[in-house]
């Protein structure tokens, strides 16, 4: 007797390539894909985006002068030809509200990050990031798609297009959300733009199915689904034989992949299968939508060959309009969550030997002003949006270890050394994955588009 369940689970699908049959011609038609990628330093990326823009000035870029001139009017030159999202009039400088500790390699870091301090020996701390946009949505679009408006493919989609998937049972580009709301720029941040839609990020949700429509409908168990798919594909084979359409052949394979994903995705996201020691390390609790859970999940997905795991954690927009977004209450709360989860991720990747191949990126979409925002006279302390400088952390995947790159002026208003534009970050990220950002292109609306638009320089300063 036939056993469709096991036959389906065993069947190999389009060995190795991960592409549908039509895709190869499409690629030749539209794209200029380097036939020989550069030697890659990293195979996978875990990108942790702190939605709203964390006050990196208060985390990684200590400014004694800012403490000295706390509550003093900021220099006039800060205000010349500047637009702020919310600050009005002549704002006052705001000193750091938390103390500082020394981490590995003597790097100073905010006292709210004691665990992370002990991981800096594996990180490149960039203090000189620069962007062009001062509002969340445009800045996020710029960071992830290279242009400040929706419509372009995101970083993960470009990588999926450029490198394909390592795992035939999972998508190449997975998105994980925590913190309670979508990023400002919405789902466009993991859009495939004009690239074929299979490159779009697949959101693994924490409520309901991890992937929309993944779970079998009521009345279907695994074996019924297996019999269903076997019958479906037998009938598709009939059509294929009569009609000869290669799209039918592809659909037969996609049905099989869908069937296998139904098993492999829940297994991949099953955090309960992790030992207690791991949950202690991360501070994770299966079933929650938390940054800790998503860090652990990201490790599990990368382990299974997912190319690009994009985490979005919301709640970092520290304006100081109330206790829900200020430096005294909300920031320490978010800091505690981040400190443990991110440190655990780095520890876990290292001890599993995965940090070599996995590039970890941490950051926001822009920085925050050295001035107190004081919107409508708010007495809560917070900082406004600031595109001129911010810090990011990189680890693994061929980046420097224990290094600090770039510097800002003594009040943390502008970059004074080694400015790294977000386009440079994109170019460097692609380079580490073995792709030339100027050659990874897609022809659309009459021109060849790329992640870095018409900008971007690969920055050797960031690499080991």
């Amino acid at each position: 007797m036939r056993d469709p369940f096991h036959a389906l689970c065993r069947r190999r699908f389009l060995a190795g390539s991960g592409l549908s049959l039509g895709a190869i011609t499409l690629r030749q038609l539209h794209g200029d894909l380097p036939t020989r990628p550069l030697a890659p330093r990293a195979k996978n990326v875990i990108y942790l985006h702190m939605e709203g823009a964390p006050p990196t000035l208060d985390m990684f870029d200590r400014k004694p002068q800012l403490d000295r001139f706390d509550k003093k009017p900021c220099p006039d030159e800060f205000l010349q030809r500047e637009r702020f999202a919310f600050i009005k009039g002549h704002p006052l400088l705001l000193g750091h509200q938390h103390g500082w500790i020394r981490g590995q390699n003597g790097i100073e870091v905010c006292e709210l990050f004691p665990h992370l301090a002990q991981q800096l020996g594996d990180c490149t701390l960039v203090r000189s990031m620069v962007t062009d946009q001062f509002n969340h949505a445009p800045a996020e679009h710029l960071l992830f798609s290279g242009a400040p408006r929706p419509g372009r493919p995101s970083m993960g989609a470009w990588l999926s297009y450029g490198l394909g998937s390592e795992n035939q049972n999972l998508p190449a580009f997975v998105v994980l959300l925590s913190g309670g709301s979508l990023p400002s720029a919405g789902k466009a941040l993991w859009s495939a733009g004009f690239l074929p839609s299979r490159h779009q990020g697949v959101e693994f949700r924490t409520v309901g199915d991890p992937v929309a429509y993944l779970e079998d409908a009521p009345g279907f168990d695994r074996r019924r689904r297996a019999r269903f798919v076997a019958a479906l594909n037998d009938l598709n084979h009939e059509h294929e034989a009569n009609h000869g359409d290669p799209e039918t052949t592809a659909r037969i394979a996609q049905n099989e992949l869908a069937f296998r994903m139904q098993a492999s995705v829940p297994a991949a996201v099953d955090l309960a299968s992790e030992p207690a020691e791991v949950h202690t390390l991360y501070g994770s609790t299966p079933g929650q939508a938390s940054l800790a859970n998503n860090c652990l999940l990201a490790r599990r997905l990368v382990e299974r060959g997912v190319r690009f795991v994009q985490l979005f954690d919301s709640g970092w927009d520290m304006h100081g309009t109330g206790p829900g977004d200020d430096l005294m209450t909300q920031f320490p709360k978010k800091a505690r969550q981040l400190d443990r989860a991110l440190s655990a991720l780095l520890v876990d990747l290292r001890r599993r030997g995965m940090l070599e191949d996995t590039l970890v990126v941490w950051g926001g979409e822009f920085g925050r002003t050295p001035m107190n925002e004081a919107r409508n006279g708010s007495t809560f302390l917070g900082r406004d949006h600031h595109p001129h400088c911010f810090s990011m952390l990189l680890a693994g995947g061929g980046t420097k270890r224990g290094a600090v790159v770039g510097a800002t002026d003594e009040l943390g208003y502008r970059v004074t050394d080694t400015p790294i534009h977000v386009h440079d970050l994109q170019a460097t990220l692609l380079y580490l994955l073995g792709l030339d950002h100027e050659r990874l292109t897609w022809k659309f609306q009459g021109r060849a588009f790329r992640l870095t638009d018409v900008h971007g320089v690969v920055r050797r300063e960031l690499m080991a």
Binding site: F86, G244, P419
Partner: protein
Amino acid sequence: MPPPRPIVAAVLRPYPIARCVVPFALAAASPAQAPAAARAPHWSYQRLERPTPPARDDGWDRSPLDAFVRRTQQQHGLTPAPAVAPAAWLRRVTLDLTGLPPTPAEVEAYVADPSAAAAARVVDRLLASDAAAERWAMWWLDLARYADSQGYEKDLLRPTMWRYRDWVIDAFRRDLPFDQFTIEQLAGDLLPQATVDQRVATAFHRQTMGNTEGGTDDEEFRVAAVIDRVDTTMSVWMGTTIGCVQCHEHKYDPFPHREFYELFAFFDQTADADRDDDAPLLRAPTLRQQAMAKVLELELTRLRQQLVVEAEPFAAWCAQQRRAQADFAAAAPRLGPWHALGPIVVGDFHTAHTAAFAPEREGVRLDNEQEGQRWQRRDDQDGVVHEWRGDNSVVYLHRTLHAASAAQALLSFGSDDAIKVWWNGELVLDHEVGRAALPDQERVPVSLREGDNTLLLKITNGNGPSGYWFGLRATALAGGAVAALAVEGAPAGTGLLALQQQYLATAPALAAVREAIAAAERELDAQVGPEVPVLQELPADRRRVTHVHRRGNFRDPGEVVTADVPKVWPPLPAGAPHDRLTFARWLVSRDNPLTARVIGNRLWSELFGAGIVTTLEDFGTQGEPPSDPALLDWLAAELVDSGWSLRHLLRTIVLSATYGQSSAASAAAREHDPDNRWLGRGPSFRLGAEMVRDQALAVAGLLTRTVGGPSVMPPQPDGVWMQIYSGERWQTATGPDRWRRSLYTFWRRTSPHPAMLVFDAQSREACVLRRQRTNTPLQSLVLWNDPQFLEPAAELARRVLAEPGLADDAARVAWLWRQCLLRQPTARETARLLELLASERGQLASDTKAAAALAGGDPGRAAWTVLASVVLSLDEFVTRT
């Protein structure tokens, strides 16, 4: 600061230049090549002439276009594929023209008489149907980047935009000539005596995104919207990608930087400016609403004539009123002082209004603490608004009324915001409302009993000031009327008029008429129609001056430009004003070489899965050249010469022999021409996102055939509308709206319906020039597990078992197959489904839970649900072959 970036110099390394053409700008830049004037212009810029079809006589052709195709086939060593079977042709043409499958009965009728005349009748019937209007509206709405929300961060809803969508449907229903279709959408507001509908059409260019994010510069996003209008217009009509020219000279096509801003200037003079409310808006009742309003106005006139004062009942009413006034005077109510408790602060307004605090639960205890506060005496004067402050808070007010004898009385209140009233312990008023307090907002008739009466008020405030107003009188009668009653004898003069007015407004005898009038007025109010964002030209004294934006930066204005079309194309007519209307007319003029070619190519692509020019959006030097230029020009000329009738062109194409070829092909034939560029076989491709779902609903008999109206919310997974700021919820339709055609599904830009996205629908943030067509595992999951496909499967299972005259399971399989795929199953196909039926029946007989989920507990029907779901997931089902 980051180092300055050489923007222009860094623009993209060149990629291989299109094969057959020499790019203008490169030629101009390269003196080594022949002067530009010596060569013919780029093919798509050449004047459109009608080519003569090659002479032919082998009897294959059914349309002049077949002669062109046959010539191309011969050039590539191809012979035409055999004609597709009549049933398959009918499925193909019905899906293509209406987006829905034919019924088995329609198939039967056509198979019985597949003559050319019958085919023509079929096509005419299909093209005249509402379904065809909806299907071609779907096509256009992608190009129009239609959506029910603004886009960007907050993505506020645009709940009235359906009015434009319905205009598009109506335009296709009327076969509105494409030139007029163009003019009304781009400049309907500028037409002399523009109708409401012509102005609604201009919402085409109000589909641009709007940004209401904090701190954004409205001008920045207004400029972004105008740029989008230029890009969209150029792409949709002219097949020209000009977006890159906003920053620099075009690298390949002949468009200087300045000319982008000359086009920009056409669209730079409208009043919209990225306002949060999408102003300017046009109140735009639908034709149905306009007709309903006329009917209701007549009805109201008729009803109002029934509202008259008749002598006898009026006299009786006056007597009754006199008694009430006398009783009230005799009762001589004495009002005690107010006592107040509060404000009691609560988390939110609704909770504050509904929660019962101590005075409600325990009764008023003036001498005790209640809710941790003491009652305070207030010496408020009646008939005046009294105010206090406290966001999301409750204040209770209490007083006693002493009456010497029993009487009727009228309590009158104003409140800011919500109010509840208890009279002698009984709740007599409960109104959750947000407003400022004014006199006499609420009236409550009560009975005064002899002795003490108690009055308790609860005033709940949202935010800002709070307060109340109080008055007491005998009845609703106002001053003049009361005075008239006080005079002995029959009332007269102005007093009589006041009394008559009161009689008409309150007499119980007239209650039915008053209610009918109120109902008709409410219904009339509902006919005012939606307010739609439209284009509206600025008045002459407020017109903008358009500059070149240096390097695309609107804050860096360069030279001043005036509206004009690029020099490479024919000029605007001499003497015509350079405005949107002239520009729209120019787009569809006979001299414009592009629009007819571009639109003809788009229609061809909808029917063949790929255009004659595969780059639908780019007819410039970087686009693909046409596979058959003569065929394209013939189609374009046919479109123009038919008076721009899209319906005529569709009819011509689908009745051709080329379209009627079988799409089956051998591996060798596919290898020879994998993309079917030379049309040696019929077209075959997967249905679009909307059609995949609509077809499943249609074959199951579930599809709701209501045309138009506000967008609807069919089932989608929980949590898709996780939004940043707004409280809007996806409210899944439970009635017939659950099964409307997919073009009516609510389209929110940041969160489009996930099943639609999986089938390659786009978020419509910009004009979707060409949808990708992918084949992914996520599509399988939608077909298997989305209730939008399982409900049709269950319905098919119910029907196959209820269908009379089906002798056995094989006959039922054949019915199911025919219902969905419109052909008889082969013996092998039947056998395979019967095998599945047997195994599922066996399994489900002992699995009551699964049987319950699949078919309400009937294991036999549950097995058929599984079978139907298989059929709805077949490649053949989601493909039009």
